[in-house]
Amino acid sequence: MKHILVVDDAATVRLYHRNILESAGYEVDEAVNGIEAMEKALQTPFDLYVVDINMPKLDGYGFLREIRSQDITQVPAIMVSTEAESNDRQRAYRSGANLYLIKPVKPEGLLTYIRLLLGVSTHIRPHLSNDKAIDR
């Protein structure tokens, strides 16, 4: 079973994502900010991250930059944000996101992208780079 970490400071958003992902057969863990996500990422080999941008302590950009720079993991990461500006999108990709989605996320769309990213990661994970990211 694929294991996904949902990182968001809003409890309702985490529960929403958990319900969607668990109903599709994924195992889900949660973190309330980038710091907690880092701690969990160091302990658990997740298959994918779903990460909010605006969080206290360490935001989504910071979390992704940390895990990418420390080479903890190169597994796919979806950044989910309320911010639709193109510079936010570019910044997310520069931080290490493989996909940038605008909230509110629709269940079918999220699951489709996750299946795609997990499929891609199975074959080309070591070479997956930001400029090969999938945009919606």
Partner: protein
């Protein structure tokens, strides 16, 4: 090889604070290479209400977390209208970390934030409206629910409403119920709004 006795950090602190603590001296010291000196300068500038602008300017590029924390603490202590003006401008920054720090600082200033909250919630930029709702999250003020209800009833942007909805799921009372039902109807095509509104209504009904 001679043993070089190192100066203790405490001695450095005392030396730094023995320098003149006038406004201009502190402003100059806020640009010092030594982070300890900058931290002391940021702390002592709390005695000068006119220091808000220079503190916020430094905050925008200060790299040392402890100095950033001290600057924000000083801004909270100053807590004057100039502080509010500068902090609101920071909410428009591209720097997510700065925005988050400012949101946390503004939560500490309920009496100063309250008079400008309606203005923030009516800002032309939906991101600023979202950050305003974020400030309400732990703002100890009796109008919090009233502001949130107004957001879910009137704001045209789904993510501003969703952010308010998340918070009403925690603090909402029966006064929010009608607004939540109306919000569900207004954004019927958005599964998240339906999910979060149902959750909030369930919690209200059970409490």
């Amino acid at each position: 090889m001679p043993i070089i006795k190192q100066q203790s950090p405490q001695l450095i602190n005392i030396d730094e604070r023995q320098r003149p603590r006038d406004f201009n001296g502190l402003v100059a010291e806020l640009e010092a290479d030594d982070s300890t000196a900058r931290r002391w300068a940021a702390r002592d500038l709390a005695e000068f209400p006119e220091s808000v602008e220079v503190l916020v300017r430094r905050l925008k590029y200060e790299g040392d977390p402890s100095v950033r924390e001290t600057i924000l603490t000083t801004l909270i202590r100053l807590g004057n209208p100039a502080t509010m003006t500068e902090l609101v401008e920071c909410l428009r920054s591209e720097d997510a970390a700065l925005r988050n720090e400012v949101i946390e600082a503004m939560k500490e200033l309920p009496d100063e934030v309250a008079p400008i909250m309606s203005e923030l919630l009516a800002d032309h930029d939906p991101d600023v409206r979202i950050f305003a709702v974020n400030i309400l999250e732990s703002l100890c003020h009796p109008q919090v629910e009233e502001w949130l209800i107004k957001v879910i009833e009137q704001d045209p942007h789904v993510n501003v409403c969703a952010t308010a909805l998340d918070l009403l799921g925690e603090v909402g009372t029966t006064a929010s119920r009608l607004g939540l039902e109306q919000l569900k109807a207004r954004f019927a095509e958005e599964p998240y709004i339906g999910f979060a509104a149902d959750l909030a209504i369930k919690r209200i009904d059970e409490s």
